[in-house]
């Protein structure tokens, strides 16, 4: 049963990865939400199940046009039988930003050298199993956010906490329905205060014994929406198909795609997609690699790569 739950939750996470979310306007956080495969769902809250054993270390980088690159590192693992913690840290330090000056009459005053700008942030997410009764699984979610942003004439920092709940119902062999709800202040970037937001989503996963390639496989689909107190609405649809059997030794290939949209930004609905592979070994160790890409309109295509190690 536990193995099944692990599989279900992993699949749900993958499904969420294909769903858009747009929590926050911190740069690293934005890029993370946009391009990272494993954390894009549910406002970046790690939905790994609290019952799952083992630890995972992941490193991620995302590249946007104009030389904007983001680096991230995450560590997650169980802390006792019902609690799982996840730490995400990231750095966003764009280079080659050329400064320019202005004269007193408003005309061009020449180049002004390089402009320094950087942002560091961290999330700590806790996932606590509170109910495990029959087909039902319920976990409480909590997340703390911290950001530091430095610019030539401005330095600011901020922190916030939000809470939520995750529920899952097993619907027969190999099927599960998961829903989640998050609410609270969301960081709008250091120094920019916080806005309230509510995130709700639902995902359906199914594991099949005869997949498209003849072997075991499965799929998950989901939808997620986010409402911010500023009046903005974000949302997305996504799906993932995998080849292999989740949670077991061997290789599992993930292929996913989805659509996202955001109101109030003149943005059209945009696709995104990616693929990943997870290789579990009998020793309990595993490696994973994930490639994702999202078209950013005028900014071009933003690729994102994640590599990770799973430990027993």
């Amino acid at each position: 049963m536990r193995g099944l739950m692990i599989s279900l939750v992993l699949a749900t996470v993958s499904a969420h990865a294909a769903i858009a979310s747009s929590v926050g306007e911190g740069y690293g956080e934005s890029l993370l939400a946009l391009t990272s495969a494993r954390q894009a769902g549910s406002g970046g809250v790690a939905l790994e199940d609290p019952w799952r054993q083992g630890q995972v270390v992941e490193a991620t980088t995302a590249l946007v046009s104009a030389g904007l690159q983001w680096w991230g590192l995450s560590v997650q693992g169980g802390a006792g039988p019902r609690l799982r913690l996840r730490f995400d840290g990231y750095a966003f330090t764009p280079t080659d930003v050329t400064g320019t000056k202005e004269t007193a009459d408003g005309s061009f005053g020449g180049s002004g050298g390089a402009v320094g700008m950087s942002e560091w942030g961290a999330h700590v997410t806790a996932q606590l199993a509170v109910v495990e009764a029959g087909p039902w699984r319920v976990a409480g979610l909590g997340r703390a956010i911290g950001l530091v942003q430095r610019m030539p004439d401005e330095q600011s920092s901020g922190a916030a906490v939000e809470v939520g709940v995750q529920a899952q119902r097993v619907m027969g062999s190999g099927r599960a329905l998961t829903g989640w709800l998050l609410a609270g202040p969301v960081g709008r970037g250091a120094g920019r205060g916080f806005a309230g937001h509510v995130v709700a989503g639902v995902g359906l996963m199914r594991q099949v014994s005869e997949g498209l390639l003849g072997g075991a496989g499965g799929y998950a689909v989901g939808a997620e929406g986010e409402a911010l107190t500023e009046g903005l609405m974000h949302g997305g649809l996504g799906g993932v198909y995998w080849v292999g059997r989740l949670g077991q030794v061997g290789k599992t290939l993930f292929l996913r795609g989805g659509l996202r949209s955001a109101s109030g930004t003149s943005q059209a609905v945009r696709p995104h997609g990616g693929l990943g592979i997870l290789w579990r070994m009998a020793s309990g160790w595993g490696v994973q690699c994930d490639l994702a890409a999202a078209p950013l309109g005028a900014l071009g295509l933003a690729p994102c790569a994640t590599i990770g190690v799973r430990m027993p």
């Binding site: 747009s22 306007e25 740069y27 934005s30 890029l31 939400a33 946009l34 946007v64 046009s65 104009a66 030389g67 904007l68 966003f92 764009p94 080659d96 930003v97 050329t98 400064g99 320019t100 000056k101 202005e102 007193a104 009459d105 408003g106 061009f108 005053g109 002004g112 402009v115 700008m117 942002e119 942003q149 610019m151 030539p152 004439d153 401005e154 600011s156 709008r188 970037g189 120094g191 920019r192 205060g193 955001a262 109030g264 930004t265 003149s266 943005q267 945009r270 999202a294 078209p295 950013l296 309109g297 005028a298 900014l299 933003a302």
Partner: protein, 610 residues
Amino acid sequence: MTAAWLLLIVSVGWSADWPTDGGSLRRTGDAPDARVVPPFVLKWTFDMKAQGCVNPAGASPIVVGSTVYQGTRGGLCGWVYALDARRGTLLWTYVSGYDTMTTPSYENGCLYLGLGMSGPFAGRAIRVEDRAELWTYGTSCDFVTVTPHGETAYVQGGSDGVGSATLYAVDSTTGALRWSMTDAPPMHLGGTPAFDNDGTLVTPGWPLLAIADLGKAPHVKWSVTYVGCPCGRPDPAISGDRVYFRQGAVPHAIIAVDMTNGAVAWTLTVGGGIGPCSVHAKRIVFNTIDDTSATASGYVYAVEDLGDHPSVVWTTNTLDSSVLTRRPLIANGMVYLTGTVNGDVLYALDLNTGDIVWTHTLSANSISSVAYANGLLYCAGATEVQCFGKPISLGLEVDKAQGNPGDLLIYTLTFDSYGGPSASVTLTETLPAGLQFVSASDGGSLSGSVLAWNGLSVSADAVRTVTATVRVRSDLTPGTYTFRPTAFVTYPGDPAYNDMTSDPAVTTVTVTAAPPPVYTGPLRVYPNPFIPARAVRGTVKFEGLSTGATVGLYTPRGLKVWAKGLVTGSVVEWDGRNEAGRLVASGMYVWVVEGGGKTSRGKLVVETGR
């Protein structure tokens, strides 16, 4: 020569393809082709007899580029004359060594010759450049023709019963035999085969054969037996999915056959003997004889193929019954054919109405079929090759087939009076919008938008050239423009050439107006970092933009914050607020300037204190 010849007005017009607004930038419509309408005058005569080899059996001239090739059929000498198409001067003579030659064929720089009348018989290929003999393929058939088609040349003969009627397919470069098809009499082969778009060959014999898979496994796809042998060749002509041919014996008829299966679609029976047909679109033109009349008058028929039946569009009585052996030529909206009963006459009929527009009495007997190119007609008699056209012929060339805004275009008008009179020429041109006059030779000057040369003289049998230089305006709206400059000559007031219009000189020039640069000067975005409270007017400036450029500001995740297009001036300013009017948060933003197919990006640090 009348006094009216002292004034020739030559006008040059650029067709109205130049855009008049920015709403429809791509103009690809062509001006309708100017139509060459007779009357013509004799431009030149080439005397074959004086050269030593004549053409009593009527091989027809062919025109390739600026050269006319004329074979000598039945003159006991198989020669080829190569003539300058505009002047009729002899360029070179090729002596085959055979006693006659049918109408030659041309493809890819080679002439293909059918040689021999009293034997021996052969097909031959020579390279035009140096007249080198590529190959000679001997046959047992008389009246040989060679028809190149791709990599294969088809050598055939046998129409008069000398030898077996055989079709040889040989390599067009080496003459090596690829396959042959022989049939015992009464199969006859004469004239030239026809090909459809699928590469199926229709033999000019009896029965009519369609041969498919010519390159791999040639086989008879279908055959049509008709009443014909031995009363004349079918002379098939293919248009679309139909082949049309004549039935030379009673009942005389034109027969339409589907190329796909050989089914006879319809048969049009006429009263008398019938000549080869020509096809333009669905209109079939052929000659017949009214056998019932005392004079055996000749008629020209134009028939429309309506699918399952024909419709006679017009008939014209030429009173000339000798036209049966010559295929009419359809060119430029006219039908040209020759006859000999009423003298040696060249006829020009309107393709649409059948009206006889012009006739010209020739000087030599046994005239050939007619060739047409570049506004000039060519036909051959027994001893002469003759060219007909307008008294003064114009040629117009532009030095560039493609140009860009700001480019200079030099166009050259060459007008010759080969066969024509001496004249004083006034040349005018109205410059269209988009072109600016730069200079003109020979005293040409601009008045308003009209460029004119006055009093240009051209002598009889002479050529003269003037040039004009114009510049494509550099401020053209982006787009592609196609010009078809056309020049022509009129002869006002001269009774001999009343309302005569010269053959048009047409060429094509395409001007591509590239999109303007995104910015007119160095693109400057300042100040950076942008602190609205400190910046002049509280804005960041995007300076150096061109009209049509757009500026967009985005978050690093691609969400649009603000955008604006430049309408006037060269600067766009942003006050730090998003499209909802709220001051944006501090941080890194990406600006994107787009326009003219070019995109520039940069990073802007914004510090709003939020």
